[in-house]
Amino acid sequence: MADSPEQIKKSIKTYTIIGLVLFLFTGITVAVATVPALDIGVHGFDVWDMILGLLIASFKATLVGYVFMHLNHEKKAIYWIFFGSMVFFAFMIALIMSAKSDPIHFNGFNFGLPF
């Protein structure tokens, strides 16, 4: 663990850089949603904007978890606890998705994707 004063001083620099990266990606999220020239997919909001927006958000969340929450040098037990809950979360979303697919006229999961 980064506990010695030297390591902590080094981490402060890392935290500042990560903070700036998070600022930058927040700007990018808003830009791709509001600036017409950066719009991907069809004009206006569509599934590609959703995927891009969620990817950026996931990237930002990973940075927060990895660096600010010290998941980059954490004990095994923490990984089990946290990722266990993530699995549960994924299960819940999958359950909702499957509930949306008509159980009688089932013809594969449709997540609104164009392929």
């Binding site: 935290y15 206006g44 904007d49 927060v64 819940m92 979303i93």
Partner: protein, 533 residues
Amino acid sequence: MEIPYIFTPRKDTGMVNSKIAIWLFLASEVMLFGGFFSSYVYLRLGADYPWPERALPVLPGLINTFVLIFSSVTVVFAWAGLKLRKWRMFQVSMGITIACAAVFMVLKAIEYNVKWHHQAVRLKDYTILEGHLDYDKKANTGEVTKDGKPVFAEADQIHVATESLTFNTLRFHKPWVEELLRQAGSNGAKVELAEELSIQGEKIPAGTPLSVDLLTKIQKNHIQSRTNNSDVRTEALRAEWIATYAKPENADKKGWELAPGVNIDVAKIKDQLMLETPSVTFAVKPTTNFWFYHRDVKEGATQSRLRDDTVLNGKLLDSPVAFHNLDAIDFRHVVMKAEEKGIDPVVAIENTWLIKNSKEAREAWEWNKAQTAKLEQQLLEKHGKDENGVAKRVPTATERYRIGWKDFIAKADGVDRGKEEIHVSEEFMGPNYKLREPKHTFPHLKVPRDLVFLSGKFTPAWNTYYAIYFTMTFLHGLHVVGGAVVLGYYLFCGKKMYQSNPEWLANRVEVGGLFWHFVDLVWIFLFPILYLM
């Protein structure tokens, strides 16, 4: 008792107990917010109305995102300050973190406040109107409310030409009785008992004026009579059952076989019964216009009912919903319904009550159509057509069928959509009516009451989008407040612990900081999902 392994790690886990505890808590939080995020997905996929995409003001949401990210940086700085044994660094960083929490909540409060003061009306033809209802300051009725404020006509009021009032003697609401008396008084009308009433032998003659005391007296009598009558009936029924069972031919029979034959002889108990008065009617002479706010009355053509079950018998007068500033017209729901029926959306829109009856709305619609055509042309020139000859990019449903407040401003300013000048405060608070008044930016509109299907503010009751928006952001806001309280406790009450055991305080701040980062992490998803998608 001392809690073990608070600042020295446990050998088996290699961590202090508080860290394991906060991570277990955060795991439960992931599941809690996960539940709400999956509800959001479910509501959005299953919505039977056009989902309000990108409906919230982006600027306050963006600032709040920056504020939370910044506070996430300062909270790790605070922890690093403690690790480096720099109390000042801890103080400053933690102070900034808490200030960020305050800024976040203030912006949230402004956003909520704007929603709660913005009126929306859905007409029966699915047109949605947004804006502000107001009183017509010129149409002073000459009346004053109980608080001494003048009463103006044309708000969201229901007016009834009342011939008589029927009170529910159990449920009547005293302030409303007083309000009815006040309105009658200011119109020079009399409210008198319609028919003679007998209360425990005392006769109350027809023509007795309405008063709260009289209604209370009738209420007391009604409750007494009901209690007495119920006792008398129970006693008589018991006697009937005893008599029935006593008959030798009924000895072997079950209760349910005998039940149809066991009845009270009304003639026997007639003298013991007291007169119940569940309702009492008062005549209004002459017929008078009573008004109540829409939220308090369920209106009908010949009978309207207040929430306390008081019935106003009489004709419903013209009680329009009056928009003094109509700042958005949304036809997307009209289009959705038209497409379901296979009708051309534009034909459906041009046949709505609004387009047929409001010149200003018609002008705005024509302006919006021209703007959409312009945009369509621009997109075609820029992106061209695909191999089937279909334009690659076309205007969205929102651009085609929703005329928002910024569009009204662009129209009034005589510029193209998106080129309008918006005041910074308007990005937070919505349109500034005073500023826009000279150009008559926002139309004035009266909607007949019988065309209104649903009216309300942008509260959770308006639609499932606002329901999930308020649920998730309010829950997140509670986390911000909770986190700030805990971090504030470390800041303001932590000095003593810092002097005696700085490592313990550092561990506490790390644990509090972990929660704070989680709050930030949730917002990182909430912001794009609610504001940008």
